[in-house]
Symmetry: C2
Subunit: 429 residues, 2 copies
């Protein structure tokens, strides 16, 4: 069945995925005299950079997600549909979805990236990941459950319940490890006086010689120092080769007993069927030219984490890093090019401007690298907060997040440590 | 296996259920020289009176639930265990749970009440209910999904997706109906311009001759007027006899097509195995004497919704109403009696003091009955808010709820309309 959206004389742009890139395009395109259809499997935008705070009970999901429709109230040329995309047909210009098919004039694939377990099914089955708000909630539940369960297992099994391993020392892994370490330091011993917190371990495993491998060496050293100061065990030059739900096997053949492994060690593009096979490149990304057009397709574009614009920018011969900034800038460039095209002007090739990178380890501890300077510690931490607050959608959300941060800073004691699994089906009450 | 809690010379009070009654007892008993063990299937207290606002995307779950451990930080004589209770053994003084067994000196059953479908399995299978935070989230998800789905069904099926039936015209049904009606008036048409909101129906079905049957007739009339002013169809003297997920059958044999039926038409006690059969009375409640002792048991008490103290209070010959106030007052009385007993004094029989009843229909619209006065409208609505704010646990929670209410009052436009089903298992991402 065809999806029931009135086709008028306006050009129809269909956007798959409302992450940073897709939403940027939708918000801008809607101002032009075109029709915009956004398709996403969820009815909300997710602010990924703060997932780790949801996972460690520092923020509520609703503070960092935002319903799409709220953004486009009273916009007649905008249509949202909650659906999964099955495949696209570039010849006929049709998108096939779980709720029917839809024709397009121009299609933007902004499906982002998901966890990459590099083919290790055992790890995929037993590890937790953090690429969606739902996965973040699952981590929160599982972490809290470990402490409840530790109370009712025999003495010699307690330790593995309160050992938390994190694979991947990028910003996600570093921030998560720091955040769990802060829970250990400030909150958990007060709430679980029956447990011995000397037994609690937080282990960060990174394959490269240093954490935050994409940043400068000094930043990596700072981050490692912060983490170790909080009691995190940082293992570099180390990879997780296997995990059966209880025991991790590292590439140096040592093993660690841990009931929780969080996987932040790799991502891959959310590829969609119907794109020419030769456009699929390393990490399931889609090869695009400097206008984000998919190689070998007409009127079909890919943006953000799923796109790979290689051999264009000398600084990034293998394509740009999979960051929010790249997605937003590509979205912005795409919009401007469409506007120019409508006015009969030439399109401008995309040029990435690195605005800086940053990561936080915990209270008063962050590393920030801007193009012309870098700084660490308290001031970096303030900058980190400011930049993130600025980027969160919605005035109320900004305010609630800010309030939570201030509250937490002074009380060390939020009250979000609840295990909720509901909203799904009856047996989860 | 025995649950590992050190048994010392102190008397051990085991409390099953951390609702209004159980939590009141735990918070007070912990100040005495006794050991307190609280068992609940969740790790948080739930503030039931505001479930309807979670269900209609006006509040977040975390604003009205509160983790138990947060309440008892650094209390050495308090122990919480997250577990289901299977049965109790009054002779051996043992509680059997999903994580092992536990001995007690005194046991308090404060398990509350759950939905009563009066044996109608068809309704139970297809209707939604609202007796837990998880059920409230499920209502939110289902209501929002109906609007998304209405966009992709044939014209003649749209109406049943946006018809919402509510069975039961007590405070829960009234507040829920009013709240959905306000979404229809203030928010939904802005976000779903493609739907025809003249087709949207909200139908409240009540078996008695009037809604809010436990309040004065004038209050019932006011509430009905408010509801109808908001566009709610109020059917009194009417019962839902059947529901197959699409079609309701009423006791007057008319039918209504609605994809959503919310059941607020009855509750029954959460009975526990091991209690003498003759203590089980109407509505699965447990018969207790005026000290909340279960008839025929020693050192085992029942408190709140699950307890039935009949033939004691002339005003309530069949037992007290199943309200938070009764549970809290019984908990309070129980604590005082225990304290008196420890000091060798006589126990005092429970006496219920009705502090008043109230219900809100929507913005500026509420009915309040205090012992010496009753009032309606804006002032009643302010009183309703104040009373509820005061009762919510936690300073931060009070503040967040207040903030949400103020925000919503002035903007008509919260941003919580997100469909999240996560935290449970992988296929709900």
């Amino acid at each position: 069945m065809e999806i029931d959206i009135v086709k008028n004389e306006k050009e129809r742009f269909v956007i798959i995925g409302g992450g940073f890139g897709g939403l940027e395009i939708a918000r801008r395109l809607v101002k032009l005299n075109v029709q915009v259809v956004l398709i996403d499997r969820h009815n909300y935008h997710q602010f990924q950079p703060l997932f780790y705070q949801v996972a460690t009970a520092g923020l509520e999901p609703s503070s960092i997600i935002f319903p799409f429709r709220r953004n486009f109230q009273r916009k007649d040329n905008f249509h949202f549909r909650m659906a999964e995309v099955d495949r696209i047909d570039g010849e006929k210009k049709i998108v096939h979805t779980s709720i029917g098919y839809l024709t397009f004039d121009k299609l933007i694939i902004a499906t982002g990236a998901t966890n990459n377990f590099f083919g290790n099914n055992e790890i995929e089955e037993h590890a937790l990941a953090m690429k969606s708000i739902n996965e973040s909630l699952r981590i929160r539940n599982r972490v809290l459950e470990q402490f409840e369960e530790a109370l009712s297992v025999p003495e010699n099994e307690k330790k593995e319940h309160i050992t938390f391993a994190i694979a991947g020392g990028g910003p996600t892994g570093v921030e998560l490890a720091g955040s769990i370490a802060e829970m250990k330091r400030y909150i958990l011993p007060k709430e679980y006086p029956e447990l011995d917190f000397d037994q609690m371990r937080i282990i960060l495993v990174e394959g490269a010689p240093r954490v935050l491998n994409a940043m400068l060496e000094k930043s990596s050293m700072k981050a490692k120092k912060y983490l170790e100061g909080l009691g995190v065990e940082v293992l570099v030059n180390t990879r997780v080769n296997g995990y059966d739900g209880t025991e991790l096997t590292l590439n140096n053949d040592t093993t660690i007993r841990a009931k929780t492994l969080i996987w932040a060690a790799g991502i891959k593009g959310n590829y969609i069927d119907g794109i020419p096979e030769d456009a699929k490149v390393r990490g399931n990304r889609i090869s695009v030219n400097q206008f984000n057009q998919i190689i070998g397709m007409e009127d079909v574009y890919a943006i953000g984490d799923v796109a790979n614009m290689a051999n264009v920018d000398l600084a990034y011969p293998n394509g740009h890093p999979q960051l929010a900034q790249v997605a937003i800038q590509q979205g912005n460039r795409f919009y401007k090019n469409m506007k120019d095209q409508l006015r009969g002007k030439e399109m401008t090739p995309f040029k990435y401007k690195n605005l800086g990178t940053m990561a936080t380890v915990g209270r008063n501890k962050a590393v920030v690298e801007l193009p012309k300077m870098k700084f660490y510690g308290f001031f970096a931490w303030l900058v980190w907060m400011l930049v993130h607050l600025r980027s969160i959608l919605g005035v109320r959300n900004k305010f609630i997040v800010f309030l939570n941060w201030v509250w937490n800073y002074f009380t060390y004691n939020l009250s979000l440590r609840v295990i909720i699994k509901g909203g799904a089906n009856k047996d989860q009450d």
